[in-house]
C-alpha cells in the first residue's frame, strides 16, 4: 500500500494526497492506495504541480494498523511527525 506526498509550494509544509483529490497536512487524511493504483494516482496528483500547489510529489509505502496509517520508513515517519529530537516543532507539536 502506498500514500502520495509532496511539499506545499508557498510554505514548504509536508502534505498528503486525499480521496477528495486535494492535499492535507496529516498522514491520517491521506488516501491509501493499492500499489498498482499508485502510479495513476500520482499522475493525477502531479497535475497540482502545474497549478503551483505543491512540489515534487512521490509515493511511499505504508501499512494500516487498527485504522491508523503508518509509514514504513524512518524518513516518512519523521516527515509525518517532525524531528524526533524536537517534539515541540513540526506536525507533532500541533
Amino acid at each position: 500500500m502506498k500514500v502520495i506526498t509532496a511539499n506545499e509550494l508557498t510554505f514548504g509544509d509536508v502534505v498528503y494526497w486525499t480521496k477528495a483529490h486535494d492535499w492535507q497536512p496529516s498522514l491520517q487524511q491521506a488516501q491509501v492506495l493499492d500499489d498498482g493504483d499508485a502510479d495513476g494516482a500520482l499522475e493525477l496528483a502531479a497535475e497540482s504541480v502545474n497549478r503551483c500547489e505543491v512540489v515534487a510529489p512521490y509515493a511511499f509505502p505504508v501499512r494500516v494498523e487498527h485504522g491508523r496509517i503508518l509509514a514504513l520508513s524512518a524518513r516518512e515517519q519523521i516527515r509525518a511527525r517532525g524531528p524526533s529530537v524536537r517534539l515541540d516543532v513540526g506536525k507533532q507539536a500541533a
Partner: protein, 551 residues
C-alpha cells in the same frame, strides 16, 4: 571586521530584490520548479524534509553583535525560534517559508549578510582559523585573504558553473583549527627563509563518498600572486573536472586521477599565463586596505597576573572547570579566547535559540566585543576577552545555557542534522550524539578521557566529518533501517588523518554500546595522559575490533 563598500551593498541588495521577483514569478506559475530550483539554490534555499531550509553565509565565521542580533530576530520571526550552525560555519534555518525568503534576504542585506554561494557548484563560503587575530603563533590574520577570495569569487562568471561545489580554507598558524586538509583548496600562510610571508597551497582534499586529504601543489606562493594561483587551480578543475558523474566531479577525484605531479604541472602552466597578464596581481595597497578591516582591537597592557581571575577560579569549581576546557591562551597578555559550547548535554549539537543569539549580542555590546566567531566544530567563540572579565562573562553565558564546559571532550560532538531534517540523510545523527553525550555526561569522566573527538554524519556526504573523528560514526540505510558504521583514528587537526571503518555496522542502540566499548578499550590500554587518538595510533585497530566483534 570587514564593512561593505557601496559596491558590496548594492550587489547584495539587488540580489535580494532579484530573488523577490523570481519567487513571485514562481508563485504565479511563470517559472516551473525545474526553472526555479537552480535560482533558489543559488540563494541558499533548499527544500528539505519538513520545509524549506535557508543557509545563511557567515563569511570566515565572523559575526558582529548587530549581525548576531539580526540572526536571532530572523530565526524567531521567520523560522521556529532557533538556527543550526554548520561545519561550514554557516547558519541554517530549517523552517523557512518560500514566501518569506525575499524579506529575510532584504533584512540580511541590511546587516551586510547574504545567502549567495551557500549552495550550488561554485566557490562556497571560505572558512578560516577561528583563532584568527588572537593566536600567538599566527603569521597574519587569515581572514584578510579570505575576504580577498570572497570578493573575487562572489558571482565570478567563470566559476559559477563548476563541475561541483568548491570549498576553500585559509589558516595562518602551524596549528590547524579549521580542518584545513579536508578542503578542495587548503591555504596556509608560511614564511620562507628570507622571512617573507607567502602561502603553502594544497589541493584535492574532501570527505564524502571518496575521502582524501589535500596534497601540496605550491610550497610557497608569493602573496601578490595567490589569487592568480587559486584561479589557476580553478581553471584546471573547471576544464578537466568530470561533469558526467556527480560522485566523481569534485576536484579531489581529478587530482588523484591525474596524480599530484601532473596536477601541479597543469596548475603551473595556467598560473604562468595568468601571472604574465598581471590581471590578478594583488596591489599591496589593496591588501593593506583590506587588512585594516581586520586590525586587532587596541589591547590594554595587562601583563602580570590577574588577581580577580585567579580568585574566581578558586571560588567557583564550575568556573574553573569551564576555564580549563573552554578558555584558551591569547597572544596579548591578560586576554583569552573563550569557546561557547553549543553542545549542552542531551541537546542538538550546533543549535542555538533566537533568545541565545540575542543574548549573545547583548553580551557583546555590554563587554564591548566587536566580534563573535563560528567554528567548524559547531561552537561559537569570543576571540578577545580580558581575563578579568571571564568570570562575569561565564555567569552571563551560564544564564543563557551556554556555559557547558566540554570543548574538545567526548561530549563536544559534531553531528550533521541527519534524517531529522535533511533530505539527503539515510539515518539520524542527532539522537546518537545526544545519547553518547548523556552516557559520558559526568564531568570527571570527561576530564579523565581528555581530548576525544566524535563526529557523526547521517549519510555518505559526510557533513558531520565522520572521517575526521577520533571516533567517527556514519549512518547508513540498511534495508530501510537506520544502521551505523564506526570508524576510528581520524583527525582534522595539523596531524590530519582519515579514519578507517572498523567493521560491520550497528543498529541505533548497538552503536551507543559500541562507542562505550571502544572508549573502555582505550581506558584499559592508554598510557597515562595519552589521548584516544595517540592510543589508537600506537596499538592500531585490532584491540578495538576484538572488543567489538569477537563475540
Amino acid at each position: 571586521m570587514y564593512r561593505y563598500d557601496d559596491f558590496d551593498a548594492r550587489l547584495v541588495g539587488e540580489r535580494a530584490e532579484q530573488f523577490r521577483s523570481q519567487v513571485l514569478r514562481r508563485l504565479a506559475g511563470e517559472l516551473s520548479e525545474d526553472e526555479f530550483k537552480p535560482l533558489r539554490l543559488q540563494n541558499g534555499l533548499y527544500l528539505q524534509l519538513h520545509s524549506y531550509m535557508l543557509r545563511i553565509a557567515v563569511p570566515y565565521g565572523t559575526l558582529s553583535a548587530n549581525q548576531m542580533r539580526k540572526l536571532g530576530s530572523i530565526s524567531r520571526r521567520f523560522s521556529k525560534g532557533y538556527g543550526h550552525f554548520t561545519t561550514r560555519t554557516n547558519l541554517q534555518l530549517h523552517w523557512t517559508r518560500l514566501i518569506d525568503v525575499p524579506d529575510i534576504l532584504r533584512e540580511l542585506a541590511e546587516v551586510e549578510m547574504h545567502c549567495m554561494q551557500t549552495s550550488g557548484n561554485n566557490v562556497r563560503n571560505v572558512t578560516a582559523d577561528p583563532f584568527a587575530g588572537a593566536a600567538a603563533d599566527e603569521i597574519e590574520d587569515p581572514r584578510i585573504l579570505c575576504e580577498i577570495i570572497r570578493q573575487w569569487s562572489t558571482l565570478h562568471p567563470e566559476f559559477s558553473f563548476l563541475p561541483r561545489k568548491f570549498k576553500i580554507c585559509v589558516i595562518a598558524s602551524p596549528h590547524d583549527r579549521a580542518a584545513l586538509l579536508s578542503h578542495d583548496i587548503a591555504v596556509q600562510a608560511v614564511r620562507n627563509s628570507d622571512g617573507e610571508t607567502g602561502y603553502r597551497v594544497s589541493v584535492g582534499g574532501g570527505l564524502g563518498r571518496t575521502p582524501y586529504l589535500a596534497l601540496e601543489v605550491g610550497s610557497f606562493v608569493p602573496k601578490r600572486h595567490i589569487l592568480a594561483f587559486i584561479e589557476a587551480i580553478l581553471r584546471v578543475y573547471n576544464e578537466a573536472g568530470r561533469r558526467d558523474n556527480l560522485w566523481k566531479a569534485r576536484v579531489k577525484i581529478l587530482v588523484h586521477q591525474l596524480g599530484i605531479d601532473e596536477m601541479r604541472r597543469r596548475v603551473e602552466a595556467e598560473f604562468a599565463e595568468i601571472r604574465e597578464s598581471g590581471m590578478l596581481e594583488l596591489p599591496p595597497a589593496e591588501i593593506e586596505r583590506i587588512s585594516e578591516y581586520f586590525a586587532p582591537p587596541d589591547f590594554e597592557d595587562l601583563s602580570g597576573e590577574c588577581p580577580e581571575f585567579e580568585s574566581a577560579k578558586r571560588q567557583s569549581k564550575q568556573f574553573a572547570a569551564w576555564v580549563k576546557t573552554n578558555v584558551h591562551d591569547h597572544k596579548a597578555p591578560g586576554y583569552a579566547l573563550a569557546t561557547i559550547s553549543l553542545k549542552p548535554i542531551g541537546l542538538t549539537p550546533g543549535d542555538c535559540s533566537s533568545q541565545q543569539m540575542e543574548g549573545l549580542a547583548d553580551i557583546m555590546e555590554s563587554f564591548g566585543f566587536t566580534e563573535i566567531r563560528v567554528t567548524y566544530e559547531q561552537n561559537l567563540l569570543f576571540p578577545h576577552v580580558r581575563q578579568k572579565d571571564l568570570f562575569r562573562l561565564w555567569q552571563q553565558l551560564d544564564a543563557l545555557g551556554l556555559a557547558t564546559a566540554n570543548h574538545g571532550l567526548v561530549t563536544d560532538i559534531i553531528a550533521c542534522p541527519g534524517l531529522d531534517y535533511c533530505d539527503l540523510a539515510n539515518a539520524r545523527s542527532i539522537p546518537i550524539a545526544q545519547e553518547i553525550a548523556r552516557r559520558f555526561a559526568d564531568p570527571g569522566l570527561q576530564a579523565e578521557l581528555g581530548e576525544l573527538k566524535i563526529k557523526i554524519s547521517g549519510c555518505i556526504n559526510a557533513c558531520g566529518h565522520h572521517h575526521l573523528g577520533h571516533i567517527g560514526i556514519l549512518g547508513v540505510d540498511r534495508k530501510g533501517v537506520e544502521n551505523y558504521q564506526i570508524l576510528l583514528g581520524g583527525s582534522g587537526a595539523e596531524d590530519a588523518t582519515l579514519a578507517e571503518i572498523l567493521g560491520p555496522g550497528f543498529d541505533s542502540e548497538g552503536i551507543i554500546g559500541a562507542v562505550e566499548n571502544v572508549i573502555e578499550t582505550f581506558r584499559q590500554t592508554r598510557k597515562p595522559g595519552e589521548r584516544f587518538l595517540d592510543t589508537y595510533r600506537r596499538i592500531g585497530a585490532a584491540p578495538f575490533k576484538e572488543r567489538l566483534y569477537a563475540h
